[in-house]
């Protein structure tokens, strides 16, 4: 058994941490994350150049990674830096295109010269792909996709839609989108498909979409672990410095024990994310282990965010304080790709 990162991944991790520490400070992050296009395109390109996107897929698909641990290595660093770049959408897109053998598009995504978003979920459809109502017929898409991460400014969209009751994947670069910032920063959009021309990439894409979404969930878990590490350390530091009643609040045992319970859970999150990463390529068990991980992350990340704010007191409620943005991100991660309750039901169904 070996829980150390391989040399390659450690290098990627170090490079990424150095880059993000130098170039992605919280002030410029917040500036980019809330104004269109809700990220910093130049930095997105630089991240691509550092190899971040290539890490999402295997060598024979045009990348140089693709394993669960490659994804978690990248997203843990993105989480530490609270990076608002739309890499979740890129991860989903490049995994889909690679699985479907679309080498040209993969190459453009990996290089960062083009960017794609993936539109799966709809207002009335929850997690089940079978509830997708968007239809493809006669070369055109009709329907509506909701909260499509990274849609603002994307060069094209990959849209899940049904034709004759089968979920396929379709490419369009002419969809109308309404763009907005998310409350925790970064962009998303409503995608309105009204006889929108599209190209069919795969008529039956249910399995590859499900698999790409699991990779996305794993990425969110790792992002949360990175963000929790920082928020936890921030909170502990604050508790050491903040004086109340003539003493640092770190000496109050009730507060100590509460942050310790969070710290212990963060370690459990790290563990289960590692476990899920190790199973990403095992089609028989991947979905269950990813669901387990995202359930525990969902439960813990919100607890971590709430306790961090509470233990900070008022300062943790302010926009100016970086911890507040970590807390928001950690809460909203649970809203992405199915929350803790939805993941739990998947685990129950798999039992």
């Amino acid at each position: 058994m070996d829980f150390t990162l391989s040399e390659d991944r450690r290098m990627l991790s170090d490079t990424l941490r150095r880059y993000l520490t130098d170039k992605y400070d919280i002030e410029s992050r917040n500036k980019a994350a809330y104004a269109a296009p809700f990220h910093a395109p130049a930095k997105y390109t630089e991240l691509a150049e550092l190899g971040v996107i290539g890490a999402f897929i295997a060598e024979d698909q045009g990348g140089f990674g693709g394993a669960g641990f490659d994804i978690t290595t990248v997203f843990e660093e993105l989480g530490r830096a609270l990076c608002a770049e739309p890499l979740l959408g890129t991860l989903l897109a490049v995994r889909l295109l690679a699985a479907l053998g679309k080498d040209d598009l993969v190459e453009e995504l990996v290089a960062g010269s083009k960017r794609a978003a993936v539109a799966v979920f709809e207002p009335e459809a929850g997690e089940r792909l079978s509830d997708i109502a968007t239809r493809f017929a006669d070369g055109k898409l009709n329907g509506r996709k909701s909260v499509v991460y990274g849609a603002p400014g994307a060069d094209f969209l990959l849209v899940a839609a049904q034709a004759d009751g089968i979920i396929g994947l379709y490419l369009t670069d002419s969809a109308e989108t309404i763009d907005y910032a998310m409350i925790d920063g970064g962009g998303a959009g409503e995608v309105l498909l009204d006889d929108t021309p599209a190209e069919c990439l795969a008529e039956d894409a249910g399995d590859v979409i499900a698999s790409a979404l699991d990779a996305g969930r794993l990425a969110l878990c790792a992002e949360a672990v990175g963000a929790m590490d920082v928020l936890l350390a921030t909170t502990i530091d604050y508790m050491k410095q903040r004086q109340q009643f003539g003493r640092p609040i770190a000496v109050f045992q009730a507060l100590q024990h509460r942050i310790i319970d969070v710290a212990i859970e963060v370690e459990q999150c790290r563990s289960i994310t590692t476990l899920a990463a190790s199973r990403l390529d095992d089609p028989a068990h991947c979905a269950k282990y990813v669901a387990m991980a995202k359930n525990l992350i969902g439960r813990t990340a919100i607890k971590c965010a709430e306790e961090a704010i509470q233990l900070h007191g008022g300062i943790g409620m302010t926009w100016e304080y970086p911890g507040a943005h970590y807390a928001k991100r950690l809460t909203m991660i649970d809203h992405q790709l199915g929350d803790a309750a939805i993941q739990l039901q998947k685990v129950m169904a798999a039992a």
Binding site: P123, V147, M182, I183, D184, M332
Partner: protein, 395 residues
């Protein structure tokens, strides 16, 4: 044992309901329902409506323009106002400074200031907290030094709620640094437009501007603005803490939010059926409902006792803790009910109907984040537990 309201109380409730239905403007109600921040005019309009009926200074005696309500009536009003999505009252004038002046003010202060609170001429805000003294109020550092007939104030206040609308601020200031921390504090009234005052906005986690920092640099204030005696400020602050306790638990807000949550869950499809029929989500809602039913009765028990004497510190702290925990849980469930649709940042202007989320839930995540304050301000829930501990572990 009798858990029913009296006929008179029921009639009063009907009167309150009818008044609110007739006098709360639709556009204000809609803002409150949708979690949209209110403008200054919205607050003022609602205050004026209430004052037209003498209902604004709910704890004030009749001779000063109050309604002469007992605790139960105040409870009923607060509950109905919350259920009807009326704005929260701006407490600093009517619920804080007013009662302080009635108890500690000179006749001149009462005659000059009280009417202006009710008629809306003055908007008061509060200068209590400081950056270094959150829960530890006795540790405040803002100095007021006597200079002839004036005090000269230097220092910094923070968390000043809605200070951006205020023309007046009441402050706790240190007037004697050589005695025990509690003994050297005074309560003083200040015009915001006095030279040397600067108010800066604090942006909150969800993006809103609700609180402010206030900087005092050589601010000269007449000594006649002192309320009570010099160095009596701590007594005044403590009086305020125990003065008005009928709406600590905020059960009206929780009832309102629970009803809205149930309604939202019934309208929200999840995996092919309404979220209200999802057993795990329904179980969370049912637990929250049970907790709230229990708290409502606890609240009424404290109310019944307080008709004969004051609520104890233990009881007030318990109501504060449970009330905030329940509202925060409901806020969390509402956020959760929206799933991915909770994501949009509400400060962004979007075309009408751009989102598929119902208007009244569009700010669910923002409300959830903003309401984390409930367990922090006015004495954090940890401070409340410390207060209870003093009672439980006495002797």
């Amino acid at each position: 044992m009798d858990l029913q309201f009296t006929q008179e109380e029921d009639a009063f409730r009907a009167e309150v309901k009818a008044f609110i239905a007739d006098n709360l403007p639709d556009h204000i109600q809609r803002k409150v329902r949708s979690g949209t921040p209110l403008d200054k005019e919205d607050f003022e309009a609602w205050h004026a409506a209430l004052n037209s009926r003498n209902w604004l200074g709910a704890t004030w005696p009749k001779e000063h323009g109050g309604p002469g309500w007992n605790n139960t009536q105040r409870h009923i009003f607060a509950e109905e106002a919350a259920l009807a999505y009326a704005p929260r009252l701006v407490a600093f004038g009517v619920s804080m400074l007013g009662p302080v002046l009635l108890k500690f003010g000179t006749e001149a202060q009462k005659a000059e200031i009280l009417p202006r609170i009710l008629n809306g001429d003055d908007w008061w805000c509060q200068g209590y907290s400081e950056p270094g003294a959150g829960s530890d109020l006795a540790n405040l550092k803002t100095r007021a030094v006597r200079d002839g007939d004036d005090y000269i104030i230097n220092g910094q206040k923070t968390w000043t709620t809605l200070g951006q609308h205020a023309n007046k601020i009441f402050c706790l200031v240190r007037t004697d640094a050589d005695v025990k921390p509690q003994e050297g504090i005074s309560f003083i009234l200040v015009d915001i437009d006095t030279p040397g005052i600067e108010m800066r906005p604090i942006r909150l986690i969800e993006g809103g501007h609700e609180v402010n920092e206030v900087f005092f640099t050589d601010v000269r204030v007449p000594a006649s603005n002192l309320v009570g005696q010099e160095n009596e400020g701590w007594t005044i602050a403590k009086y305020l803490l125990t003065h008005e306790r009928t709406n600590i638990a905020g059960t009206g807000y929780a009832m309102r939010d629970l009803a809205a949550l149930k309604d939202l869950a019934a309208r929200t499809m999840r995996n092919g059926k309404p979220l209200s029929e999802d057993p795990l989500f329904a179980a969370e809602m049912a637990e929250a409902e049970i907790d709230l039913e229990a708290l409502r009765v606890t609240n009424l028990r404290v109310l019944a006792e307080s008709e004969t004497g004051a609520a104890t510190n233990y009881e007030s702290s318990m109501l504060k803790i449970k009330g905030t925990v329940i509202v925060q849980r409901l806020n969390g469930l509402t956020r959760q009910a929206l799933g991915a649709a909770a994501a949009p940042f509400p400060a962004v202007d979007l075309p009408a109907n751009a989102l598929t989320v119902p208007e009244d839930a569009a700010a669910a995540a923002a409300t959830y984040f903003n309401n984390r304050k409930l367990s922090i301000f006015g004495g954090s829930n940890e401070i409340q537990r410390n207060i209870i501990a003093k009672d439980l572990f006495r002797g």
